[in-house]
Symmetry: C2
Subunit: 228 residues, 2 copies
Amino acid sequence: VSAEAQKRRAALEAVKHVQSNMTLGLGTGSTARYATEAVGEKLVSGEVEGVRAVATSKATAALAEHLGIPLTELGGAGVDLAIDGIDEVTDDLEAIKGLGGALAREKIVEARARTLILIGDSSKRVRRLGERAPVPVEVLPFGWEAAVSDLEALSCRAAPRCDESGAFKTSDNGNYLIDCRFDAAFDAYEVAAAISVIPGVLEHGLFLGLAKLAYIATDEGVVELTRS
Amino acid sequence: VSAEAQKRRAALEAVKHVQSNMTLGLGTGSTARYATEAVGEKLVSGEVEGVRAVATSKATAALAEHLGIPLTELGGAGVDLAIDGIDEVTDDLEAIKGLGGALAREKIVEARARTLILIGDSSKRVRRLGERAPVPVEVLPFGWEAAVSDLEALSCRAAPRCDESGAFKTSDNGNYLIDCRFDAAFDAYEVAAAISVIPGVLEHGLFLGLAKLAYIATDEGVVELTRS
């Protein structure tokens, strides 16, 4: 089974939780895309109705509009259910997200979801965070080099994400994305707290204690991970 | 002695610390303006030379250019000396800043200053933070209402800052400014840590443990406050 087929299977499992009149949080990236498409199909077929969605990126907003999913803004009450892909997830449902560059808006929405479901193919499951993926950090362009210095003081190698031409990539919010690679195991909660207080940091890609459920597709089927 | 005269006296005291070849951090607001003007005069008179400055706002950058102070960007090495006004300061040199709306860039620069000097007129000295001033918080427009809900959970009244027409004011970074009013005394370090981890928050106006020195002008002269 290809990674793409796995992503789609995990997404379809998650979308079973969508019910009529829910406000959804729609993630960003190739796996989340399958979930958004499945939500659109559920609305077209009439299986659910009255669903509205908050998009976590301009790309997802464009896709949702194309599929006829009514969009809304994130209000003070948050969303009922958010579904999103991950870069890495542990069996404790701690995750790294943000290779797609939408980490700030994803965290803003998904931290306010009554239920957050993470989805991914089998390559995303890790024993420890940072095994393969960097921790992305969104920082203000103003003074970004000082933020990089502070990040490297946390025992990682920190570098701005660049496009093919070598120009710095920017988020939907116009900020830089700094990828932090940890060679050794680290205390994710400690690092997350330390990153949050660095001046100029808007958000980081450590999603800790947020998800209740994950669906990871494997060749043998979809594995469900839960956290009490 | 008028408040304006006091502000100027405090600023002149701080600017005595400026030496040749320093990289300075220039603050924002009516008190910081007097310091920036005094730095310009020191350069014109030849009392110091080789000084460069990082401006904490577009307004300060424009003023510095007008005065002939060479501007530079904040690099990984930070600045030698930063001078800025405050909204409130305690005898322990804990401060609230940000009524001018430049709190994020101020903190980005001033947290990386080898020496930070705070200046103000006598009305800025308080027994506890939040006595008169709100704690300003800069948040991303995306999902701002959810951030307000999270801020109010910290036992304050949180509201976006508006201009005369009722439109939300924005920072130089294009974000909203949420003013948080605390009616009762609060643990500033605890509140600062809690605000930093709210998704969508870029920065807050609590400047804790950053300043080594403050000059507060009174009718009887300029009081020096220090922290070891």
